[in-house]
Symmetry: C2
Subunit: 300 residues, 2 copies
Amino acid sequence: MLTVFGTMALDTTRTPFRIEERILGGAATFASLSAGMFARTGMVAAIGEDMPLSHIEAVRSKGVDTKGIVTVSGGKCFHYDSEFDYNLSNRKTLKTELNVISDFDPVIPEEYATSEYVYLANNDPRQNMAILRHFEKPKLVVCDTIEYWIHTARDDVVKMIGKTDGVVINDSEARLLCNEVNIAKCARQIMSFGPKFAIIKKGEHGAVLFTKDGEVFPATAFFLDEISDPTGAGDSFAGGFLGHIARKDKVDFRTMKEAVIYGNVMGSFAVEDFGVRRLLAITKDDVEGRYQKYRNLVQF
Amino acid sequence: MLTVFGTMALDTTRTPFRIEERILGGAATFASLSAGMFARTGMVAAIGEDMPLSHIEAVRSKGVDTKGIVTVSGGKCFHYDSEFDYNLSNRKTLKTELNVISDFDPVIPEEYATSEYVYLANNDPRQNMAILRHFEKPKLVVCDTIEYWIHTARDDVVKMIGKTDGVVINDSEARLLCNEVNIAKCARQIMSFGPKFAIIKKGEHGAVLFTKDGEVFPATAFFLDEISDPTGAGDSFAGGFLGHIARKDKVDFRTMKEAVIYGNVMGSFAVEDFGVRRLLAITKDDVEGRYQKYRNLVQF
């Protein structure tokens, strides 16, 4: 089983072409929906009373176990309001209302404790470390982190990374964390904190996997003619990556390379519509079809 | 035969780590040295009397035909002085001295007139159109262009593109030319001017080939741990791309895809040292070796 810990949010997303208010989003939602296409996935998140039940129902309908979602009574959902510029690549944060996640003390349903795979999304690193204690003996723990935590709690970020086996992180945030421009050097620095591998995500340009053994796997992104909303691409990548690994129940380099491609595939679906709409619409056949399409696309 | 028309320059290149003054550079030099690894290549360029003969000798020693290099008596070489920032990705132009290239009326040695393949580097589009008249019946003409010409002579750039079969262009310059952010749309707009294909170069992120038939080939860059000087990567790409096509004497999609990879390979060599130094040092075996390495690297 794979347990995903992160936010289940209401997002307001503005592009020059469309505005969508208070739609279902959040790192755990994207990652769980992606991972759920591959393996049994449980989702841990704190929500407020303003989360429509239909959203939880929608996630559950895709096979994700939602017992780990905790409703904080009297609380309000994490709400993220942001705006993309014309090229849909630069995002400006307009509002971040932490609400129920600000002092969440994460708990997990008993049956999640034996999870072999754990994904800690870009949460407060202290909460990520706290939840880890609830798992018995996971085979693989992977985390992400973001600018906000690097700025406000860098020491805890490094400590958290030290408790994981792998890191999935954006290029800009890797550079910020490591105070280093070269992403290969960033990856090595991140691995020096403890993990056996680091994946640097480069948005529309794909991702690069680095391992402690010195192996490297650069993968271009699946080519899309147009995108609608880049929100959640990175979390969907992480979900696809870990989902495939959990499905194969293997963590060798070959499986990780396939998992990076599945990550790219899931990220490419996520950006085709606003919020998690596309992830809710696709089937396992769509995923495998696009994986094959990717293989054909990059073949030479 | 492949004829390359462009600059043979003296470059001053400054990085935060090293400064090199008046070293051999220029689009035609990079492209010809790259192409010369694959096929018979002739180089057309105007130089001044300040070009050290040893530089021409060095280019010739790699098999490039230098009969097309014209020395303008009393003239001075094109000199480009630029500075890279710490991440070696943003370049600031400090000085551009056109000198001998400013009103060059390109001529070619008689034996170049039957060239099947022609590469028009980022020259004045009027000069590119002028030189084209000297060729009898080339099978494939490819051009590049840069910001300077898009700003000062956009109509001529579009007219020039209309006389070619393919365009190789940087993403930022494609966006500027087409006033459009999405590179797939840029490629389609460029092809609407006439060419059958467009390659959008994305620097360290690789390149994407688009054809009029709707085919797409995204290719990640060869992964390098570190680079020394990004100057000439794009020209080396174009040289490798056209060199492989000239060697195979085929312009089908499969050959073009291989050619994109050879382009990436040549670009990756170029950036490993300042100016053309690395291109002067490598052998055909190095090129084929890195092509295989690339294939293994991206395999999954």
